[in-house]
Amino acid sequence: MVKPIVQTRILISCALLLMIFIVIGYQLYSLQIIHNLSYQAQALKNRLHDTIIENERGRIFDRNGVTLASYRTEPTLHVPDQDSLKTLARILQKPNIEHTKTPTLIKQLSTEDIQHFYEHSHQMPNIKVREHTIRYYHDDEAFAHVVGYIGDRQEKNQTKISNKYGISGIEQYYDSLLSAHPSIKTYEYSSTGQRQNLVSESDGQRGNNITLTIDARLQKKAYELLKQYTGALVALNPTNGEILTLVSTPSYSNNNLIRGIHDSRNKHTSQLNRAINGQYPPASTIKPFIALHALSHNNISEQYQIHDPGYYVVGNKVFNDWYKKGQGDVNLNRAIALSSDTYFYHIAEVMGIDAIESVLSAFRFGQSPTLDLGHPSPGLVPSERWKLQEKSERWYTGDTVITAIGQGSLLATPLQMAFAAGILGNKGLTKKPHLRLSSEADSVTDSIAISQYGQKEYDIIIQAMIGVVSGNETLRTGRLLNSHLYDLAAKTGTAQKVSVEYASNNEDNKIKDHSMLIGFLPHDQPNLAFAIVIENQPGTANRIAKEWLELYATLYNGKIKD
């Protein structure tokens, strides 16, 4: 007879097994129902892989169709194994590449690198040369600050957008327009990595091309003239706001930059776009605007005359004229042509700082210009309120008189100076400055009108500025600019200020004056307004301007194409 304990134990055994089945059943429920979606996603990730084909980013052209940014193919080296990489690192003398994981593509090779490779290629038979398409900037240094450059996106998981994006310049501002949408092909792969079949395919899109208002010939000429100095040249057409030239020096090679080759020159100073971000005391170039206001508000008349002993006294403080001997009797025309400080000290005291602030603000000083490039700086127009807020100091008449000669706290960028010159030359009317040609841009050409000054006062000031270049004063400050090729109205300036290049090693440069020039031509119906700033090189702006303006006049024959 079988003992009851055996029966019990048989039942227990069976119950234990059934419990295990229940656990398995629950686990199946968990896998197949609760976590079903997660496992389906994992299954997809297992077998589906995207092949991303980058489409070409939009090209950038100048106003005449000259290519500024495009693509070109360069050789790269495909290195399959660590041994070849070691040899390559030794031969190219690039020890830093030795630690990359193979297989790898070695990009950013100079012509010499490729030459070295070919000379020693028998030592590295496994390395193959492959073509690699890379963004290419024509005349890179001349256009670097306008065109900018691109870089690789760090986050790799976004397959819908291009891996390249604009980091600065037009490349950055119009990135969404220039960016291509990559084509994506999704293939099914087996566990051994063999491609099975195409599951889905999305056609990408090439980036849009962009045509700029820049004239490549003028830009290159300006860069040629400026490259040995530190400075900027901005030129625009005041009738439509198109920027023809925007140069900042020192420049940099954006071709080298996107290849990871860094300039030996200071990166900070070369990448600073002085044309829109360099804030300088505008110096005597500000005088025509002050005079315009004084004329309009009857503070002076055209014939109004003062005596200039070479200095001016405010209270118990003496303000010197740059021309220590004094110019004698000075009226408006002489004051502009000879750039008399004393005359402007005098009228500034009569006008007061509020009037000066009013005219400078009207001509858009002290406010960030709208521009389809970077972040233009606002400059600074000081006022009583500003001084109290920023420096907790009272405003003195002395502050007023030095503001009137463009010194003191007053700051302006070359773009602002060129823009203001344009408004003046066009007698109060202009359009917003822009870099993308308006025939393809939608609404960048907003008009700007300054109505508080009369045509007669404009004419008087313009006449005075013509006198700077081609008047009958022998000592007129713009006499070197005179040319039979154009009818120029201009105003020179000399800023007593250290360079914005604080990091400069050259101590002498810091104390030398900046040379500046604004102007427009033809003076009766201007189609060009410009500003030039050359740091620490007094008098240089005039010489550069003449050569550059003569090219402009030759190219456009005094008439700009629309």
Binding site: V2, K3, I5, V6, Q7, R9, I10, L11, I12, S13, C14, L17, L18, I20, F21, V23, I24, G25, Q27, L28, Y29, L31, Q32, I33, H35, N36, S38, Y39, Q40, Q42, A43, N46, R47, E188, Y189, S190, S191, T192, Q196
Partner: protein, 365 residues
């Protein structure tokens, strides 16, 4: 003459257990469908498995007809043959998957370790039936030593999965024989204490499998990769599965051994929860039916032998299914009745045959 053969057939049909035969037939059908799918819609595996099924079924029917007393009497002979075969396979066997497991019989390769799954239950039952119940400690230890001989031989091949099943069957038999629960608790404590020592006796690949079992995220492309892929296949199947011949994990070869050890992953992927629960219910039903027959049997030998035979089939299915779901480490145990292969099919059906024979011996008394 015709009436004679007819009566012979009706006797045979009467001797079959309806529940067990239904389960076996259903499992065989599942097996053929799954193997058809595993071969990408070709009949290669199906044809070969049909042939094996025919041999194994004949074996089962023959054993069913053998009086249980005869089987009982030949228990020792059977076990000695088994041990000799195990020794033979270790010295002369064919190597597969890093282990010497097979005897090549020409028309199919045979694994003697599978045969032990039938022999050991009979041996333990025979031993326990000769002891007094509840079983004493000294008898238990002796039985344990007895089972260790074939277990160690299997372990030497090495076939960890089968060795675990054999040992579990033996220990369960001692449990069912009524060993005092105090001794059971003490033994369990000792076994846990000995676990770390047994680590040293494992093969490197077995250690790797254990490491991967406990740390599956350690190396998704290494050895733990298979467990993960199997879970993905089962999990992505959902309720209804991808359908016959459409499971991407299987089609694109992310599942290794998808027609043998990992056949359950294919069922999960292509037939979903419906398929996996169906298979689960088949084995649960087999377990219940087996233990029911054991419970109803009159004598100790029949009880223990049937319970242990059932247990050995159930354990194989549990270990195999758990392994495909990542619940247990990967040990090469096929899914009984469903995985492609002859040895497991033959011994499973032999066990079913013995259970039926035992059941019949009860009815005839």
């Amino acid at each position: 003459m015709e009436s004679h053969s007819k009566s012979q057939l009706s006797i045979l049909v009467k001797k079959l257990d309806f529940v067990l035969i239904s389960i076996v037939s259903a499992a065989a059908l599942v097996s053929l469908i799954v193997l058809y799918s595993a071969a990408n819609g070709e009949l290669f595996f199906v044809k070969r498995q049909l042939f094996r099924l025919a041999i194994a079924t004949s074996c089962m029917l023959a054993i069913t007809m053998v009086p249980f007393e005869t089987i009982r009497r030949h228990t020792m002979t059977f076990n000695i043959v088994c041990i000799l075969l195990l020794i033979w396979v270790i010295t002369h066997g064919h190597i597969g998957k890093g282990a010497q497991r097979w005897i090549d019989l020409g028309f199919f390769r045979f694994e003697p370790s599978e045969l032990c799954k039938v022999a050991i239950p009979l041996l333990t039952a025979r031993f326990i039936a000769n002891c007094s119940t509840p079983i004493k400690l000294i008898d238990s230890l002796f039985l344990f030593g007895l089972i260790s001989v074939p277990t160690v031989l299997v372990l030497l091949q090495p076939d960890l999965g089968t060795a675990i099943i054999l040992m579990t069957v033996g220990v369960s038999a001692i449990f069912m024989a009524g060993l005092s629960h105090r001794i059971i608790l003490v033994s369990l404590a000792c076994a846990v204490a000995l676990l770390p020592i047994s680590w040293d006796y494992l093969h490197d690949y077995q250690k790797l499998r254990l490491i991967n079992f406990f740390y599956p995220d350690n190396d998704p492309l290494g050895t733990g990769y298979h467990i993960l892929q199997s879970k993905i296949a089962i999990g992505s199947g959902g309720i209804f599965g991808y359908g016959l011949l459409s499971g991407p994990q299987v089609r694109l070869k992310f599942i290794p051994e998808h027609y043998t050890d990992f056949v359950f992953s294919l069922i999960g992927e292509e037939f979903g929860l419906l398929g996996t629960f169906f298979v689960l219910i088949l084995f649960a039903g087999l377990t219940i039916r087996g233990f029911m027959i054991a419970w109803q049997a009159d004598d100790l030998f029949t009880k223990i032998s049937i319970a242990c035979l059932t247990l050995s089939i159930t354990l194989s299915s549990i270990i195999n299914i758990s392994m495909t779901m990542g619940l247990l480490p990967v040990v090469g145990i096929p899914l009984p009745l469903i995985s492609y292969g002859g040895s497991s099919l033959l011994t499973t059906l032999m066990a079913i045959g013995i259970i039926q024979s035992a059941k019949n011996s009860q009815q005839s008394q």
